[in-house]
Symmetry: C3
Amino acid sequence: MKFERKDILGISELSVNEINLILETAESFLEISTREIKKVPTLRGKTVINLFFEASTRTRTSFEIAGKRLSADTINISASTSSVVKGETLIDTARNLEAMNPDVIVIRHSAAGAPHLLATLVKQSIINAGDGAHEHPTQALLDMMTIKEKKGKIAGLKIAIIGDITHSRVARSNIYGLTKMGAEVVLAGPSTMLPRDIEQMGVKAYTKLEDAIPDADVVMMLRIQLERQKQNIFPSLREYSQRYCLHSRNITLARKDAIVMHPGPINRGVEISPDIADDSSRSVILDQVNKGVAVRMALLYLLTGGNE
Amino acid sequence: MKFERKDILGISELSVNEINLILETAESFLEISTREIKKVPTLRGKTVINLFFEASTRTRTSFEIAGKRLSADTINISASTSSVVKGETLIDTARNLEAMNPDVIVIRHSAAGAPHLLATLVKQSIINAGDGAHEHPTQALLDMMTIKEKKGKIAGLKIAIIGDITHSRVARSNIYGLTKMGAEVVLAGPSTMLPRDIEQMGVKAYTKLEDAIPDADVVMMLRIQLERQKQNIFPSLREYSQRYCLHSRNITLARKDAIVMHPGPINRGVEISPDIADDSSRSVILDQVNKGVAVRMALLYLLTGGNE
Amino acid sequence: MKFERKDILGISELSVNEINLILETAESFLEISTREIKKVPTLRGKTVINLFFEASTRTRTSFEIAGKRLSADTINISASTSSVVKGETLIDTARNLEAMNPDVIVIRHSAAGAPHLLATLVKQSIINAGDGAHEHPTQALLDMMTIKEKKGKIAGLKIAIIGDITHSRVARSNIYGLTKMGAEVVLAGPSTMLPRDIEQMGVKAYTKLEDAIPDADVVMMLRIQLERQKQNIFPSLREYSQRYCLHSRNITLARKDAIVMHPGPINRGVEISPDIADDSSRSVILDQVNKGVAVRMALLYLLTGGNE
């Protein structure tokens, strides 16, 4: 199957066949990062720009490593050093970068839709590395890759996503992807953190964690964005963690072989207790990070015409 | 012709022959950025340091891409992360970098003359990527390359440069270069933004845009440095744009086939109206950016002895 | 001799044989940085992460150049752009990086012991690029390499270290290394800057510069950390420099052929007078920087199994 897309903007527009192609390609790339010489010449002479308007260690580093292991030239631009401080519009920034002939622009932006705008304006491939509270497709793809590896499948699994659903691009992309792949997705979070019409996305939503995780095969905890909690969505952090923190007692409601996921960075003791986060029999949090490099290698490869 | 210079500090000291050699070399590099594999081994094993004491997206990125497409190792140092915060002098910074054996140091600095000081102190090649309000030679070279491509020549053209001439290193470098190459250069800007003795540089200066652009082949708009307008040089931005913004009415004073240039980033509606900036029949703003990579590749190549 | 260590955390744990192996390996790498093509394929396909929680020009740049000249892929992460701003613990950051399969993580951190903690947690090699006031092993190694080259030996030399001993990781690493290698180390600094039990490290300590430098073969001046002098350790900078600045008069107390060292960046006129810093017959400050690249190349090479 040929990959026909110019951009990766969200999971919402990907077909099941496309998701499967990406995951299979990523699986074939996983081994490269375990070699003595972790580098293949596939993208030699291609230019990948990481354009980050929000701080990020892991996503930017993951894309940079993915690009370099494929021998691409990688360029990092972060908002703090960019001409954004000079008031240039996103559109002008994009067109300027386009004129330097990159092959792929990876963008993270606080505004939902920013990558989509770029994609209509420039001829290069755009990868959405997170846009506001909208989508974070590479995170959902690495989550699906991790689930598939650990559980052998996605279809038919019960997957609970717990936390601030409203503000989570991770949740949104995973809901699109997991339901598409045939999983049963249930959510839990404070009512102030559950979008009103969320059940129209084909999921069930609860305000109690204990209602969502019974018999779950996968428990995916979301990050509370402490740095954004200036507007008090919930009364206090302590109250949140009393009701929504995953720990050694409530985890017993899930299936015995349930895996625990988190997109990181973890607020230990807020959304997940340290013993659960570090329990290697359950926690697949670092597997997620590991799959992230392979997923991003796969996308860079597919978007630059690798499988033609 | 062999290129004999150690450094590129300003257009003022370049001869017509040197400018022509740089432009011809850049033209031969233009094609590399359009290849499937945008990379040649010319500068393999060379080290290029981008030492930026002022924020920049496009110039830094342009140099970094230029270096990488020539297979150089590129190192970015920005003021905010550098030991400048520890109070080290520019001289000590330069000598320390010298001791690590780079081949080229690209420097942007808010102080006029900083690159020249460096050039006398270190044995490596220095490229001035903008020093205060003094010179920005790579910008002028890419501007001349763009004009030459669009108009077939530079000599004999009438070129109007509009805006804050006093504070513009772009204006200064272009005045040196364009007059040297035989163009007629006319300026317009508020009297507070016109250096007193500017006509000694071989140009005419007006306080009205309408006096400068009649019959111009090229209209080059300068950027108003909004971020530096704490000292009120002009009464208000609105008043400035009423008198000096290029738009669909005053552009008709120029030649029908006149091209419009801007060094970016654009303040849309301040120095240029959006319809003119985006009019692909006139605006060559993105061509300028595109030529920038080729010009910088040419300079890196020539300074490291490429054409010997 | 095979190099058996996983990490380079401090000079305190290195044996004389290990130090000699590192210095000899570094000497063999010195020549690469003087070649026309300054690059060897030794670390092709290896990933080196520079994880800097403190600002640094020279150390970060030195490691980055060292990695690139060995053809490693180098990734820079600085605290200001990292997810540290999201409150992630150092441990989680490290484990996340580990999951992306780097080969070496170079870390600078304001907390003493941070690199040691990392080393116990992740399987990759850790290099300490400075941890609080504890150790800065690569600085001491490049200092020893410089002394060995200039003096032909280390054993038997008298080496004076002057300044703020208490807060200096450079002093601590050098005391460990130089005494191990058989040098006589004497210290001088204000009593508030001399650790109480420092003589138990096998050195002599004085409060007067004039007591420490007589007959010294090497005078090593430490940097006063102006940016950290909010708590007044000494009455005034002027008083400090009157008593502890190395200048053309007190240097005559040292041996005629004594060399002068400084880890940089220099506060000219505070700890060393400009004429001494720039006296090429005595000052080896830029040699130190030059050796720094070679020492870091040697460590990257040895830690990735280069000499097996």
